[in-house]
């Protein structure tokens, strides 16, 4: 399973996104605001998710900001840092 697909699954699972299937989430969907509609508190959860499921820590604010744009950008960020 690719990182992107796993990411979509854990997102739905850990964030309790009801009525959403993994295939419904598009790769270039914006995470915060429009698109997936996550808010700042979900961001907290997201950091935990990325740490828990992928072992990747988001150290830098600027990095985190660009990583959190879309599913694709987050997946790419994770792939780059996975050991």
């Amino acid at each position: 399973m690719s990182v992107k697909e796993k990411l979509k699954e854990v997102l739905i699972q850990d964030l309790n996104l009801e009525d959403v299937e993994p295939h419904e989430i598009e790769d270039d969907m914006v995470l915060f605001g429009d698109g997936l509609g996550l808010d700042s508190l979900d961001a907290v959860e997201l950091v935990v998710i990325v740490q828990k499921h992928f072992g990747v820590e988001i150290k830098d604010m600027e990095e985190g900001r660009s990583a959190f744009q879309t599913i694709s950008s987050l997946a790419q960020y994770i792939e780059e840092r996975m050991a």
Binding site: N16, F32, D39, D42, A43, V44, V47, I58
Partner: protein, 710 residues
């Protein structure tokens, strides 16, 4: 030369000196709006006037450059000869927008006797800072000399009613004329008005300005000196009347041959009861301050600036003659410094220690001057209204907008008092330490609590905390609560200005706090607007861990944190809630590093919509729950830490409770409610122990009725 039936006849004048490039365009623009246009060529050498030969204008020429003032006077003469009544002047450099002409014509219709000055809109960023300063400077002098406030005294786009040129004599002829005409007209009783106009200010060298010459600035300085000196002489100015009256019915002037009539005349200016009371108050205020031989001059200046009756002010300042009032001030100052009264009067105390006495005079006067001024002003007002039998309503309430904002949870301690009020407390602290500042506080707070709007703000909470209290008890409680807030603000400034030794802080729960830190998941401190968290925070240095605050700082905040007073850098790291995603990424990072994060738990912060309704003191309030989410996600414990004042120089910081939020609670605000309720409960406990240290001066419950009769 009076016009029959006072019919208004206007003409537009454009004085020009070497503005050939823009002149034609400006003139054509004016001609679109009006047909009677006069150009005054003040000895131009660039042939600007020749560009206008085909246009239907009138032209006056000076043989050589005589100055803008001379040009305007020539134009006024020209107009008076033709029986015209009003002159609209604008500049030839294109700075003025001819589309604004109709505004001036309209204002002539409304106020035919007024001199109207167009206020240039300086909000455009292309205006250089030196221009802005120059304008403020000029406006200040105008106000000082005449009491009139104009927003743009340097603007050349104006309406001049021509009768002022008939009856007043002007000394200047150059750029300074534009100021002299304003001042002498104001002295003569002509109304000065503003209207808003737009401005086009070409950048840099595109604008041909002749103003920056040394001679012009020198001339302006000479003029201002003369006008200012004249303005403080309490001899009234000759008032002029406009057109339709003959010269024989002029106002009778003052003379030493008619002393009684002269005094009555002097008393006649600015004599409404409010103005008289203000004048008397100002006289006593300035008379009490140790201005050392300058009292009279300063009083005259201040009266000119604020349009107060000079005779009343000088008379009331005589009440402060030595030795009584200075002696009183010295006694008060001595008491504030030493806690005891000065009883020994000898060469030692008054001679050798004269500098000490002088300092105490200053200190005491800062406290007594406003007090005495208020008393005298009050008495004067009562007498004046009784004598004149004119009732004027006093309005001392705070504005409606402020109370509405407060009810909408936007009240903060930033909005108590204005900048100068805060500054005067800082001054008292520097001069006399805690005692002096507290002394001033007792008086000021009493005044504040007399205002019903202030008491209303206190009562939202007090009604719930003390449901059985009667009217007097509630008044007293409001006083105590506001006083405690005042003391906390003063303490904050004390620590900053005079150093941290001013306040002792005792920490309860040190052990528990250190144990939480040792878990290495970070610690979230949740505070509330009680006691003085700033002072208390300074006690957390022992933790040896960086403290990060979630705080929203406004640019125009007037209250300062203690570190700003001390001129040191902020010892905490500030996380801005307006940052990306409300700063949560930073907050998570802080906790992962094992540091301390501090947030406010009792009020929603700005745009934060992450709030949950919980029960608090018999009603429901909305409190933020982001901190609890963070705790749940990172495993950091929440520590409820409250501070409270225990004595005049001591505080306690107590760890009331540790709240642990389990992980995996999911989304949504309701899941956090029980934990927020734990916090609210803790706050209720605090309020029962320290009822007057709770500083939320607004309706947290948003108009839910408390369950007792008010």
């Amino acid at each position: 030369m009076a016009t029959p039936e006072g019919k208004i006849q206007i003409f537009v004048v454009i004085p020009v000196y070497n503005h050939a490039t823009t002149l034609r365009q400006v003139v054509k623009g004016v001609l679109r709006h009006y047909d009677r246009v006069l150009i005054v060529d003040d000895g131009s050498s660039d042939g600007g006037a020749e560009t206008l030969t085909d246009l239907p204008i009138e032209l006056l020429s000076h043989p050589h450059n005589m100055g803008k003032g001379a040009a305007l006077l020539s134009a006024a003469d020209w107009g008076l000869q033709r029986g015209l009544t009003h002159m609209v002047s604008l500049d030839a450099d294109g700075q003025h927008d001819v589309e604004d002409l109709p505004l001036f014509f309209a204002s002539i219709d409304e106020n035919p006797q007024a001199l109207v000055v167009g206020t240039r809109n300086f909000n455009q960023s292309s205006i250089p800072g030196s221009s802005r300063f120059g304008r403020k400077f000029s406006n200040f002098w105008l106000r000082l000399q005449t009491g009139s406030q104009l927003k743009d005294s340097q603007s050349g786009f104006r309406v001049y009613p021509l009768f002022i040129f008939q009856q007043l004599n002007f000394w200047t002829r150059r750029y300074n004329f534009e100021i002299e005409v304003l001042v002498r007209s104001a002295w003569a009783g002509v109304e000065l008005r503003d209207i808003d106009i737009s401005v086009y200010y070409p950048c840099g060298d595109e604008r041909v300005s002749h103003f920056r010459s040394f001679m012009d600035n020198w001339r302006l300085t000479l003029l201002n000196t003369h006008l200012t000196l004249r303005s403080i002489v309490p001899w009234p100015h000759r008032k002029i009347v406009e057109f339709n009256q003959s010269s024989s019915s002029r106002v009778k002037s003052l003379s030493l041959l008619h002393p009684l009539r002269s005094i009555r005349q002097l008393l006649k200016e600015n004599r409404s009861p409010k103005q008289l009371a203000a004048a008397a108050g100002v006289g006593v205020l300035l008379g009490t301050l140790p201005l050392l031989f300058c009292h009279t001059i300063v009083i005259l200046f201040v009266c000119g600036f604020f349009r107060l009756n000079k005779v009343a002010a000088i008379s009331s300042s005589q009440l402060c003659m030595p030795p009584l009032v200075p002696a009183l001030c010295i006694e008060v100052g001595y008491f504030l410094r030493n806690g005891d009264w000065l009883t020994e009067f000898s060469l030692q105390t008054l001679g050798y220690q004269a500098m000490q006495r002088l300092y105490e005079w200053l200190l005491g006067s800062l406290l007594l001057a406003p007090l005495l001024a208020l008393i005298v002003a009050g008495i004067t007002y009562l007498l004046a209204t009784t004598i004149s039998r004119k009732a004027e309503s006093n309005d001392i309430s705070l504005s409606d907008a402020q109370s509405k904002r407060a009810a909408r949870q936007e009240w903060t301690s930033r909005s108590i008092g204005s900048s100068w009020q805060h500054q005067s407390f800082y001054l008292m602290i520097r001069l006399g330490g805690r005692r002096a500042a507290y002394a001033l506080l007792y008086v000021v707070v009493f005044y504040y609590v007399l205002l019903p709007s202030v008491r209303r703000k206190c009562n939202y909470y007090l009604a719930r905390r003390f449901p059985q209290s009667g009217m007097w008890a509630r008044f007293w409680n409001s006083y105590r609560m506001t006083l405690d807030l005042g003391k906390v603000l003063v303490d904050r400034a004390l620590v900053g200005i005079l150093g941290a030794e001013q306040v002792k802080v005792d920490l309860h729960g040190k052990q528990e706090l250190l144990e939480c830190l040792a878990e290495n998941k970070g610690v979230i401190l949740v505070n509330a607007h009680v006691g003085c968290w700033q002072v208390a925070m300074s006690a957390l240095g022992f933790m040896q861990t960086p403290v990060n605050l979630l705080m929203q700082r406004e640019d125009d905040d007037i209250d300062r944190h203690y570190f700003e007073h001390a001129g040191i850098e902020c010892p905490y790291r500030i996380i801005d809630p307006r940052g990306y995603l409300g700063g949560v990424l930073e907050m998570v990072e802080v906790l992962k590093r094992g540091e301390v994060l501090s947030v406010m738990g009792d009020r929603m912060l700005g745009e934060d919509r992450n709030g949950v309704e919980v029960e608090f003191m018999g009603g429901t309030v909305t409190m933020p729950f982001s901190a609890y989410k963070l705790a749940s996600a990172t495993g950091a414990p929440i520590v409820v830490l409250f501070s409270y004042k225990t004595g005049s120089d001591s505080y306690e910081l107590k760890l009331y409770k540790t709240i642990r939020v389990p992980s995996g609670l999911g989304r949504g605000n309701n899941v956090f409610r029980p934990y927020v309720r734990e916090f609210a409960e803790t706050l209720e406990v605090f309020c029962s122990e320290h009822p007057f240290q709770f500083f939320n001066f607004f309706d947290m419950w948003q108009n839910q009725p408390a369950d007792q009769n008010r």
